[in-house]
Amino acid sequence: MLISNEKYDVIIIGAGSIGLMTAYHFLKMGGKSVIVLEKGYLGCGSTGRCGGGIREQWGSPENIILAKKSIDIWEKLPKELEDDLEFHQGGYLILAFSEEEAETLKQNVHLQHKFGINSKILTPEEAKEIVPILNTSGIVLATYNKRDAKASPFRTLFALKKKIEEMGGKVLTHTEVIGFKVKGKEVKEVITTRGSLKANLVVNATGAWSKIIGKMLGENLPVEPYRHEIMVTERLSHLFDPMVISFSKGIYFQQMPRGEIIGGIGNPEEKPGFFIQPTSWFPYHFAKTLIEIAPALRHVRMLRHWTGYYEVTPDAKPIIDYSEVINNVIHATGFSGHGFMVSPMVGKIVAEMLLGKSPSIDIEPYSIRRFREGRIVRETGVVG
């Protein structure tokens, strides 16, 4: 099917969690004509490959605010989208393996409390009560927040697409944006592999690929793709509720409502670039680290192992900003491995920007300018 010369108020590039949440909020707030363009199938990007973890236990105000307000929205989403999304608030248990790490986690909890988050500091024994398969040796302390959650990325994308279409929006898959027709400082047309579309406003929600879109517009976005590997096991009856993570070991794992365990570990040697193949490094390092933390899981078989990209910025914090070179483009990218959890609030903010409203939170901390001006403080709460 070819498309040509149709005109939309808003064209969103990328049908991942960020693009679809934006379209959904745009329509919900009264926006009318919106189309989301996706180069592959629904879920082919990072969202469809991610771990589905959602937490407000972060180490910087920027991420805490986005995550907290996102969980407020997540709590209502299953009802709004008429799908349970496998959304479940089983908490996050964050483990500290050294005094230094314990200190950072304590500071994070302190900061979280300032924003009204009910995170707690637990002894290793208290942590074991929540996750009975935990091996407490080596654990200095843990932090826990019951409101943290998980959801199925696929269920979320499909439910969003359905809702967007019901509300009069469009989602077009297998349609890649390959260029723009720019006049002065405005995009007039978006050129795709299936023809061109006219638009008033354009959103770049292409995650790991957003730098490429930036380049097409003559703008340098500091977002690099980093391969990240993840696996799923066979199903078991309910074993433990929270997502368990360790920043120092780079590991996270959780049991989904259907019974499978999903988890990943970051490879510190990973270089930026579009390397999609799984590596032989992962299964051994993941298994070894996993059974140090939860020895009983040695009896559970890994079923599949795949990869996706973290879309990483220099400070591991997002970019939500107007383009610096083109007047009618907004970038929402650079979530550095946690864009799924914050997508509801990001979608809402971008929708507000599209509708000419002032964003309900201050977006200055998410500006592109901060990198140029050297105002960057690295997030400490990144896993993998």
């Binding site: 091996n135 078991l236 019974g259 193949q277 032989s280 051994y284 009983a296 009896h299």
Partner: protein, 477 residues
């Protein structure tokens, strides 16, 4: 009641029944033989239901018999999700059926030590030791290459180890011998060659960056294999038929039935209905009759018999009716199949009301075709194309059988669902060309590869294969 085959006109199972052992299933004691899979020992004892599905709690039992479907999950000595068709019986083993999702008994408190997988190199890795992979190994080794041949089965021969009938085709490609005999010949030839290493019971389970294959050696230990060239010969996967209650224990594919009967000497049932009259359906029916099983009928949806006339004639001579323009519409039973309901169908394949017939059976064997097993080639990023005549998605390939990825060759049913003789021809072509690309030369063998290319052309030029020959042109690059 035992379903064990005691006397078979062609097969001898005594080497698999050396040491009787006792084990427990749901707290009842059963007898089996050391080394045979739990599911086989239970089936022999008439126990067909092994587990329940997690959501609807439907009965599940042995289905593929080769570790691929997970419908035989049981709990063994407290460890859940063990495939009963893969786990050998041992004295005193405590087995329990799986009821939906199972608990993990939490016993471990300190982490066990695991070691980093060993990484080895080889010149040519061949995956699958069916006729295609086995002959490829022999020819590549004769060219001078160092070969590692891996297969998850416990013997060399692929489908051949389950075929008691004599194969058709050309003498040059072992026609006239029984399948089991061809497998023996290939095995002997492989054992003679010092530059072929064979790993049986060793599935290839992963493919990683840097051309690394993960092999689960002896089904115990991951070994990373880094080959210079690869020949992929994993054969085919069975299709299944859709009808009500097609998941009841006692209903299985032809492959599962053959594994039970011809590898382990256990009958799939006493009274059986077969679905599908292609060569596989006809041969399985014949083999079951040979093993003393009553085959009630073969149902075939097409208006004609799918397989060769000779096979159909053999089956008919035994008095087994072949009902064309019929299909199975339902199976009945709770813990295992008890009845099969069939009906005649119209030109649009709809059952005609009033034509239903009932058969009292304890097994239904489904033989409705196969498709190429492209799990590995897809994982490797090789380009595929859907070609119906070849069985589904198949990898693109050169005439030398090299795929779109340099150094990766295919041979046998993975390239196109055909026969043992064509699998052998393709194995010869792939084996010799892979070795040649490593710099080995041997004019006589290279000539043999050329001959095999010509033989393939000739074989496919008969009217029966004309459609395959035409379709193949779409996948040659």
């Amino acid at each position: 009641m035992s379903l064990r085959i005691e006397d078979h006109p062609l097969l001898d199972f005594s080497d698999k029944r050396k040491k009787p052992v006792k084990f427990y299933f749901n707290d009842r004691e059963y007898k089996g033989y050391e080394g045979e899979p739990i599911a086989v020992a239970l089936y022999a004892n008439g126990v067909k239901k092994l587990s329940e599905s997690p959501v609807k709690h439907r009965s599940r039992g042995l289905f593929c018999a080769i570790g691929k479907c997970a419908s035989c999950r049981v709990v063994v000595n407290g460890i859940p999700n063990i495939r009963a068709c893969q786990e050998p019986v041992r004295e005193g083993l405590k087995v329990r059926s799986s009821k939906g999702l199972e608990k993990l008994e939490i016993k471990e408190s300190s982490p066990p030590r695991i070691s980093r997988p060993e990484e080895i190199e080889t010149e040519i890795l061949i995956i699958g030791a069916g006729p295609a992979g086995a002959i490829a190994a022999i020819k590549a080794a004769d060219m001078g290459a160092k070969v590692l041949l891996v297969d998850y089965a416990s013997r060399i021969g692929g489908q051949l180890i389950k075929q008691t009938h004599k194969f058709f085709g050309w003498r040059k490609y072992y026609a006239g011998y029984r399948g089991i005999k061809i497998a023996k010949i290939l095995e002997e030839e492989i054992r003679k060659r010092a530059n072929i290493e064979v790993w049986l019971n060793s599935p290839v389970v992963g493919y990683y960056e840097g051309n690394i294959f993960a092999v689960l050696k002896d089904k115990r230990k991951i070994v990373y294999v880094k080959p210079k060239k690869v020949i992929i010969a994993p054969g085919a996967v069975e299709r299944f038929a859709i009808f009500e209650n097609n998941d009841l224990p006692g209903i299985m594919g032809a492959g599962g039935a053959q594994t039970l009967m011809n590898v382990w000497g256990v009958k799939p049932g006493e009274r059986v209905l077969v679905v599908g009259s292609g060569n596989v359906g006809l041969i399985v029916s014949y083999q079951m009759a040979q093993a003393g099983i009553e085959v009630k009928a073969i149902v075939e949806a097409l208006p004609y018999i799918g397989g060769y006339f000779v096979h159909a004639a053999k089956v008919r001579r035994l008095g087994i009716p072949i009902l064309t323009k019929h299909t199975i519409i339902r199976a009945e039973g709770t813990e295992s199949v008890k009845k099969a309901i069939i009906a005649e169908i119209d030109e649009k394949w709809r059952p005609i009301p009033g034509t239903e017939k009932e058969f009292i059976v304890d097994a239904i064997i489904v033989a409705v075709g196969m498709y190429p097993d492209t799990t590995l080639t897809r994982m490797m990023g090789i380009t595929h194309k859907f070609v119906k005549e070849l069985g589904g998605f198949v990898p693109l390939r050169k005439r030398t059988l090299e795929t779109t990825r340099e150094g990766v060759y295919i041979a046998g049913d993975v390239s196109c669902i055909e026969e043992a003789s064509t699998a052998l021809m393709e194995g010869i072509i792939a084996g010799i060309n892979a070795a040649k690309s490593l710099g080995y030369n041997n004019p006589v063998l290279e000539n043999e590869a050329q001959e095999a290319i010509k033989d393939l052309e000739k074989f496919r030029s008969g009217p029966r294969y004309a459609h395959i020959k035409r379709a193949l042109e779409n996948v040659i690059i």
